[in-house]
């Protein structure tokens, strides 16, 4: 029993699978994004460059480790590990194989808590490294969190109200049982969750905290070597988290279909979400932080409140 659990945590559906997915998703994102821009994308490491994210990760691990003198050393060293761990923990709650590794009533709230913690760790990462670009980046990321967190939370709650459960697994099962996806039932919620996930993942048009042309690399500026590698791994895991979350909340989750294992179904669905995210991020220019904050509060939040009201009135679930 214990062995089985250890296998679950470390291999399947735990860390080994998730790391694999993280690197695979980064590759899909880069390749697809490149194709949208009429480029080739990663090409030479492995077939069609599929091993490029792994190679990048390994290369960064082997690089010199630089710690700026004026930084807060304890926080500076711990934060990369925290940042890589948080999305991993969140992924344990998401029912990837049909049932999650850990599932309990209220794990949606746990997820929201983790996503807030991720942003907090970003803030700490930027603030502790004491560079002027990092500080601006971390303030921006905190401001950004203040604006997308509430619509994001409401978008998670919408399906929960309909499914009468705060457990992700149960919400996914509800969709399977009623054979209807929340994508069709609550389309506004789906749009809002996608937009706020773009902000959470710091992708265009919301890549404000690490706007390359404005503040170098934002909160990541001072990091290099294995710390940067961990941050990049964390980012990839976040990408997996975001796409699997949307897939299981709004696209029906890991429904079994004929003989195809449910894991594969979920992966296909989440890849679709991932492609959607990469396509959307190719279409926009970057907002300024004040434009982003006011836009989120004046458009996204009212829209989401309308969606919740509709759900309460019995429309959409």
């Amino acid at each position: 029993m214990v062995l089985h659990e250890i296998f679950g945590v470390f291999v399947y559906p735990g860390m080994a699978l998730l790391f694999g997915l993280a690197f695979l998703y980064e590759w899909i994102d880069r390749k697809f994004f490149a194709r949208v821009q009429n480029r080739i994308g990663p090409l030479y490491t492995g077939p069609s460059g599929i091993l490029q994210p792994v190679a990048d990760f390994l290369k960064l691990l082997s690089k010199e480790d630089i710690v700026p003198e004026s930084c807060e050393k304890p926080i500076f060293s711990v934060i990369p590990i925290v940042y890589a761990t948080l999305p991993l923990i969140a992924l344990f709650v998401i029912p990837i194989t049909g049932s999650a590794l850990i599932s309990f009533e209220g794990d949606i709230i746990f997820l929201m808590f983790i996503s807030a913690l991720i942003t907090l760790s970003v803030f700490l990462a930027g603030w502790s490294s004491a560079g002027s670009f990092s500080r601006i980046g971390s303030i921006r990321s905190a401001l950004q969190m203040l604006s997308y967190e509430i619509p994001f939370g409401l978008a998670l709650i919408g399906p929960a109200i309909s499914a009468h459960s705060l457990s992700l697994t149960k919400i996914a099962q509800w969709q399977a049982a009623n054979s209807s996806w929340f994508l069709w039932l609550q389309p506004i919620g789906f749009a809002v969750v996608l937009i706020s996930l773009l902000a959470e993942l710091e992708l265009v048009p919301f890549d404000i905290p690490e706007a390359e042309t404005e503040i170098v690399a934002g909160w990541l500026t001072e990091y290099g070597g294995r710390r940067l590698a961990l941050f990049r791994l964390g980012k990839d895991l976040e990408l997996v988290m975001a796409s699997t979350l949307v897939a299981s909340l709004y696209l029906g989750g890991a429904q079994p279909l004929f003989f195809i294992p449910p894991v594969l179904i979920l992966i296909i669905k989440s890849v679709v979400v991932l492609l959607l995210i990469s396509f959307v991020r190719a279409l926009f220019a970057r907002f300024r932080i004040d434009q982003m904050t006011s836009g989120m509060w004046t458009y996204l939040l009212p829209l989401m409140i309308v969606q919740i009201l509709l759900v309460q009135l019995g429309i959409g679930g």
Partner: protein, 371 residues
């Protein structure tokens, strides 16, 4: 919102938004810039002194290397200045070939800039598309002149390579395609809300300030002032070719983008017209080896604005004094004015808005108080 105290934000010499090393010190109050101190000279290369050491023909290649993007504008201006010293009349076909190259260069420089502007605003996809098209122009120039950047097609007394009929049809065909593409991108730029939000009413340069601070080129024309060396003081064959001087009343980054986009369309038309009306004949006349004492000034509308070269000869085969005034130097004062009151996030866009070319600009300038 004011915090009372200001923070100093350094910008450069190494910064992702600056493609060349130059240093700006911003004093920032909250998120608003209150003071800008530029520090230029990081890429000073002693070009003007080097001009005095070499012969007129060798200097041609030095002039071409002043700028990496408007190399043809510099070499055209150089040949024009030296031909003014002699004075030398160049064959009409050579004039047209120089003009076609100059307009091709304007196309590639402007598409480069619009791409950069999109990139500074975080619009990477459009940046990729524009640079893809720019690459095709570079290939075209490579085919005509033999090199992508330093074309070495100009020589004193004419040009070194002819444009064949085959190349002419190829250029014309490409111009039609390119014009369509630019119109498509303009539609995107005019309607994309995220881009409009970042560029409209950002980096305002009032017409009065623009004149007072000696702005040149597209920066000046985007403030609604009709000024273009090609129209005001026609050189090459610009007097024979009908074209419009594009202006825009927006005075902001958006206006600068649109002015450059429309100039691209205009340039494509100039190229097509020039190819149709190109006279036959010789492409060069032999230049003299030594030049009698004389003085001459050449003016060219480079992609970035008015470019001025000045030369003084002393009867030998080397110039006695050579002076280059690149357009970026004219625009630098205006951009510092424009930056005051801007958001920190808008700095790269505004700075890029003048299409800075710092290595063109860096000359020794000694200004002392009271002089």
């Amino acid at each position: 919102m004011s915090y009372g105290t200001t923070i100093k934000v350094p910008f450069g010499p190494q910064h992702p938004a600056l493609k060349e090393p130059e240093y700006f010190l911003f004093e920032v109050d909250g998120d608003i810039v209150v003071k800008v101190t530029p520090r230029i000279g990081y890429v000073h290369r002693g070009v003007e002194k080097a001009f005095e050491q070499e012969t007129y023909l060798h200097n041609l290649y030095l002039a071409e290397r002043i700028c990496g993007i408007c190399s043809h504008a510099h070499s055209t201006c150089y040949t024009q200045t030296v031909e003014g010293l002699v004075p030398l009349e160049i064959p009409p076909r050579a004039v047209y070939i120089r003009l076609i190259m100059a307009e091709l260069e304007r196309l590639h420089s402007h598409s480069l800039w619009v791409g950069i502007a999109a990139h500074e605003a975080g619009f990477d996809t459009l940046f990729m598309y524009l640079w893809r098209d720019r690459e095709m122009i570079m290939d075209l120039m490579e085919e005509i002149s033999g090199n992508r950047v330093t074309h070495a097609i100009n020589t004193i007394g004419g040009v070194r390579r002819d444009i064949t009929g085959e190349q002419a049809t190829k250029i014309k065909k490409f111009m039609d395609k390119f014009e369509g593409n630019v119109k498509e991108y303009m539609k995107v730029l005019e309607t994309e809300q995220t881009f409009l939000k970042r560029t409209k009413d950002v980096g305002i340069l009032k017409p009065r300030d623009a004149i007072a601070l000696c702005a040149v080129g597209p920066t000046l024309r985007a403030s609604g002032i009709k000024s273009d060396v090609r129209a005001d003081d026609p050189y090459l064959a610009y007097g024979e070719i009908p074209f419009n001087v594009i202006t825009h009343d927006g005075c902001d980054i958006y206006a600068r983008t649109i002015v450059r986009c429309e100039e691209m369309i205009e340039s494509a038309n100039i190229i097509k017209y020039a190819l149709d009306h190109m006279p036959e004949g010789k492409i060069k006349v032999p230049p003299p080896r030594t030049i009698a004492p004389n003085e001459s000034v050449g003016r060219v509308e480079a992609p970035r604005g008015e470019l001025i070269h000045y030369a003084r000869s002393n009867g030998t085969n080397k110039p006695e004094r050579y002076k280059v005034r690149a357009p970026t130097l004219g625009n630098l004062a205006s951009v510092c004015q424009t930056l005051i009151g801007a958001h920190v996030a808008d700095i790269p866009l505004i700075l890029a808005g003048i299409d800075p070319c710092f290595s063109c600009m860096d000359r020794v300038i000694i200004t002392k108080k009271g002089e």
